[in-house]
Symmetry: C2
Amino acid sequence: MAEPRPVRRQARGERRIAEILDAALSLFAEVGYEAATTNAIAARAGISPGSLYQFFRNKEAIAQALSARLVEGTRDAHAAAFADRPVATLPLDELVDLMLDPLIEFNVSNPGAKSLFGNTDMPAQLAAATRPLHEAVTRRVTAVVTARAPHLSAVEAARTATVVVQIVKAMMPPIVAAETEERAALVTELKRAIRGYLAPLEDATT
Amino acid sequence: MAEPRPVRRQARGERRIAEILDAALSLFAEVGYEAATTNAIAARAGISPGSLYQFFRNKEAIAQALSARLVEGTRDAHAAAFADRPVATLPLDELVDLMLDPLIEFNVSNPGAKSLFGNTDMPAQLAAATRPLHEAVTRRVTAVVTARAPHLSAVEAARTATVVVQIVKAMMPPIVAAETEERAALVTELKRAIRGYLAPLEDATT
DNA sequence: GCAAGATACGAGTGATCGCTCGCATTAGTC
DNA sequence: GACTAATGCGAGCGATCACTCGTATCTTGC
């Protein structure tokens, strides 16, 4: 179980790694994880199979690194949205904008992301890699719900957050796939749906 | 391209086919389409690999037959719900119950169904097999939306239906996975979300 | 009861794919 | 410029898997 001796990456190597991940992401998005052969990934990255394995122990490591890259992007986009905002007192529609806009933007500019998350054709261990992200997002939403609807029990707040997250996740593929005009309309509808779901909870401060 | 000569199935054969489909569904649900080997499917069905190919031309044919079986079930469940009901005038909450309850029941009693639909690890041709179902459901929902909110344009009604279908689809996995008590709570939340989304459209009969 | 065909078997075949290995080339360090 | 390590190559190995084939056993129709 000896660690496989660290490697001092050169700038060239870092570039290669990025190229491999780009190639892998686009291939995964096109044909899925299983059908994407490592030789095809290497070919798309413009290198030989041997070179690919210079940088990744195996196929799963590629997916893991890719997953990490996307998780990081999503987390950053989401975290930035919440930084130093009075989430408890903001008008609901502004809050919804704040939560969704960065997420939507990230997914639109990374069209392959959705094809990695939520697909069951990858090793279980890998699917697990995205769970921390999912949990972190849900936790954050739970906190917001709790702050705005304090009369909810912890279980109820968590459930509410789950519903919100699921709805957002579900609308992402059509939003990403749509042309800009229809996309805007779908985003509007998504926000309306979220507001329609959350508004009654906040009014119920009897 | 000669048709591969029809076979006069015996009762035994029909039983075997059903057993194979059961085995395939559970395996697909556990490990995904690609990872489910045909030998493993045969083993789980209690037959030899050779026998499996007595009934199915190839692996994809198994998935296709399975898909057909599930599509039929879903369609029936959905169609039955709408039979001879005044969908245009029914109170919204009753309508939502009418639309969702049969679908939820079917998915709960066929836990593998969701793992087949909406997974991209199967041949494109196969994923296409579930599209007619998806379209049929969306069309039906569009019709209901149009009937209840006539002020919407065709495009708007279709968009609304898309959102409703996506939300329902998204909530199905958590609902299926949950224990009975939490499941009931999630169903309640789902219905609340749908009502919250649809209600404003109906009020807007200015 | 007998032929025809449906069902059953399971070792084996050909193709695919993840990954390796031996070796060549390039970049970094002194 | 010389030494070391990183990067690069691509033919091919070993394992896996969808599927076949020769053969044996049941079921059905007459």
